[in-house]
Symmetry: C2
Subunit: 353 residues, 2 copies
């Protein structure tokens, strides 16, 4: 598995060029000789953003320049997650935040191809139905399980506020994400109307469905999206957003941190088998070079979980922002602007540097 | 001036009957022999809310039971503020929070009669145009100036969140409040439409205008709102809310407090003349029986102000919630559930208990 590191990149550095801060990519190996999927902001003012596919045998493909499709995104991660045993049905997911037409930033997950997106919600329920939202996506980690179609999606979010700083970790289920992508599209009759679910007929093949054996109809096989009927592409262009949102498991964060002296920027999770069952150990990296090792315990079917900080490690003597974290054969690899460090991590046990 | 105290009432007591928690009133003395204006929640489940006028020579009057007009309000204060030299043109303002149709709570100020309301905004500007809102109105104080038509409106707001607790003091200018009430009404074409400004013809006399010499037309004198044309009352019923919102002076709070060990619940302000000019000294009461004495200094035309806490007084030995505060001939009168205390306050100087 490739380590995605942007050398020399400090995410907290406001002077780093916008396109560098926002580049994420994944390399897909396959029968077609490997393809590169990239999400990036193509100009230095952060205006022209694109998700593109290049290399491989197929012709390059990119999203159109359209605010409806990508509006000042900040790309955070990209992952390939299979939908079924049919490799042609694989989906590429991009995780990013973007502006939206009510003036705010929203966290979105995008499913390639025929680009459609859905909003990930990470919020704490509040009085009078007013939730506290964590809308700025900081990092995403896919906890792979035996079922490669259903990894668990761990995400760190922060608040967008000049008054309150807080972080939340929310976990999403791939089944919920797929449900939202298979649900109604968001629709607006005109500029004076509210957003609502699209209730008309959706053209076939439905946007978000890959051209594969599944979309093959007698006498009409869709070999690529280029062969999709115009109506499908037009519909996709005017309805890139799903109406429903993706809620996290148990409808609330697994972990909350407020008033911390540092920013939580990276997450990596390790499933460890303890005597009483499996535990998901979260390793959370900060912009001060510390790593928090936390587990969240849930009592039976209880909605709320109890979080326990096992350790708070100052990995680097100088407080330097962590730029990448990865667990590699039970060794936690951290990278920084100008340094790479390894530490053993033995699940719930002790650590070495 | 009457002291408004609800004896035996602890605002933070969740078991106190809803109607008691929410009653505010003011007595208007005048040629008509005195009238009582009351905002209250008339049933114990907090469902039927009303603003009513009683006593005096005129027939009693009340707002209709309609969610559009009052939706689960929590009344905070009521004040009479003259609009002009014509006493018939006086306005009664009710300050309250209520639910609204996007599911949230909003702070509203209501202008009697022909009930119209406007939203008071108290927020801190944030990145990407996302402000941090303080939406729960806690207390209102009118700082009377020589111009009785233009008191300054001081208000304490709190956050509505289970994660972050914070308080802000915002100051509003009566001229801004009147501008909003004289501006466009909020309008919605139908349930699927967005709110927007009403651009059609508003019937005469415009809702919010009192029947007085000003509304008198040749051959048609509106002696009371009962004589207003049906079209006016129908329009008022379907357009109780103003489209524009009232922003605070300098568009941001004068004071911010986060992570305090107590709740800020009451405010009283005293304008004191110091050697270098006038200062507005804020006395902020808490639910722990403390009083903060704070001034906000503004450097020239700077938007941001520097707040200086002069004193933090523990007025009562036992931490007891303050239920009322008033400055009376340079003496700060505090009331609690079962106690009344006076303290001298000599502007920026020292204090005695």
């Amino acid at each position: 598995m490739a380590v995605v590191v942007n050398p020399g990149l400090d995410r907290s550095d406001p002077l780093a060029p916008a396109w560098e801060q926002r580049r994420v990519y994944l390399k897909r190996k396959g029968a077609r000789g490997g393809e590169l999927y990239t999400g990036l902001t193509a100009d230095f003012l952060g205006r022209d953003s694109v998700i593109l596919r290049s290399l491989g045998h197929r012709s390059p493909m990119r999203t159109e320049t359209d605010q409806k499709i990508l509006d000042e995104p900040r790309f955070v991660a990209a992952h390939l997650i299979p939908d079924s045993a049919d490799k042609d049905d694989d989906k590429v997911y991009f995780f990013f935040t973007e502006r939206n037409d009510v003036g705010g930033k929203r966290v979105l997950v995008n499913k390639w191809s025929t680009f459609i997106k859905a909003r990930l919600v990470c919020s704490v329920p509040g009085p009078h139905g007013i939730d506290t939202h964590f809308d700025q996506l900081e990092d995403v980690f896919l906890l792979r399980t035996k079922d490669e179609k259903n990894p668990e999606v761990y995400a760190i979010f922060s608040t967008i506020s000049n008054v309150f700083q807080g972080y939340a970790v929310c976990v999403y289920n791939m089944a919920h994400i797929r449900e939202v992508f298979n649900g109604p599209f968001a629709h607006k009759e005109g500029p004076d109307y509210q957003w609502g679910p699209y209730e008309g007929r959706v053209p076939y093949p439905r946007p978000g469905v890959c051209p594969s054996k599944i979309t093959a109809q007698p006498g009409r096989m869709f070999g690529s999206t280029l062969e999709f009927p115009d109506a499908v592409l037009q519909f996709a262009r005017s309805h890139p957003l799903m109406w429903r949102v993706v809620y996290p498991t148990h409808r609330q964060p697994l972990l909350l941190r407020t008033s911390t002296p540092y920013r939580l920027t990276h997450i990596t999770v390790d499933r460890t088998l303890a005597e009483d069952g499996p535990y998901d150990v979260m390793f959370i990296g900060t912009d001060a070079g510390t790593v928090l090792k936390v587990i969240a315990l849930r009592n039976g079917n209880s909605v709320t979980s109890e979080e326990i900080t096992l350790e708070e490690l100052q990995v680097f003597k100088m407080p330097t922002p962590i730029t990448s974290m990865e667990i590699s054969v039970k060794r936690l690899v951290l990278s920084l602007t100008c340094d790479i460090r390894q530490m053993c991590e033995s699940g719930l046990g002790s650590h070495e540097t």
